[in-house]
């Protein structure tokens, strides 16, 4: 799956997006795969919301290989 990073998370990961090959996973499975590659994301886990295909993920959302996943840190538009 394609994973997008925004704002300061780009500095943490060093990139704006990456490809993650973790099969179909729930949010915990996704975070396990993410933290394995980018341990620096750990402190942000509690404040980051996940989005799947440009919609906020719910508790039951599963993230699959063809999905576009995004890590949404607290927003500050307007």
């Amino acid at each position: 799956m394609r994973v997008l990073f925004f704002a300061h998370l780009k500095d943490v990961t060093g990139c704006a997006h990456t490809e993650l090959d973790c099969g179909e996973v729930d949010a915990d499975g996704l975070w396990d795969a993410l933290l394995q590659r980018y341990p620096g994301l750990a402190p942000y886990r509690s404040t980051v919301r996940l989005a799947c295909n440009a919609r906020y993920a719910g508790p039951d959302t599963r993230f699959g290989p063809s999905d576009e996943v995004a890590l949404i840190p607290p927003v500050s538009g307007g």
Binding site: L4, F6, A51, A54, R55, Y56, A70, P73, G77, G78
Partner: protein, 144 residues
């Protein structure tokens, strides 16, 4: 409710107003959120915004539709600027046309609250005057 949502790096002040509306308009409200000359107590020259653009547009539309059923209005236009926005210029413009002012005020205030909670747009950097000058007018000599 007619909605028009635009995220752009252009100056918002120069973009056209909201599309025409069908219903009888008794209230027209315009809000400009303007970049102020300080951020966290420190003088700045500009703010830089980024967005997860397709999701931000969807979220704004979703919010407007949700708020529009509680506060029915005729037309809402949302313009949000991305990239570097100099102090004194608008980062966001929201225009609401409605039959009555109460609905327009309520929708506008609630929309701005929700935008700042849910819409994936970020102030990603505050630029000082010096940083802007170096970035956009780099001199011939730059000490290493």
């Amino acid at each position: 409710m007619i909605t028009q949502v635009t995220l752009t790096t252009q100056r918002l002040e120069e973009l056209p107003g909201p599309p025409a509306t069908a219903g009888p308009v008794g209230a027209q409200v315009e809000f400009l959120g303007i970049v102020r000359s300080e951020e966290n107590g420190r003088p700045i020259a500009a703010l830089e915004y980024e967005a997860y653009q397709p999701m931000a547009e969807c979220e704004i539309e979703r919010l407007l539709n949700e708020l529009g059923s509680a506060h029915p209005c005729h037309t809402v236009q949302v313009l949000h600027r991305l990239g570097i926005v100099p102090v004194g210029e608008a980062a966001i413009i929201v225009r609401v046309l409605a039959a009555h002012r109460q609905e327009a005020f309520s929708l506008l205030a609630r929309f701005m609250d929700r935008l700042k909670q849910d819409v994936p747009i970020w102030k990603c950097k505050a630029w000082t005057r010096e940083e802007l000058a170096r970035r956009f007018h780099p001199g011939p000599f730059r000490p290493s």
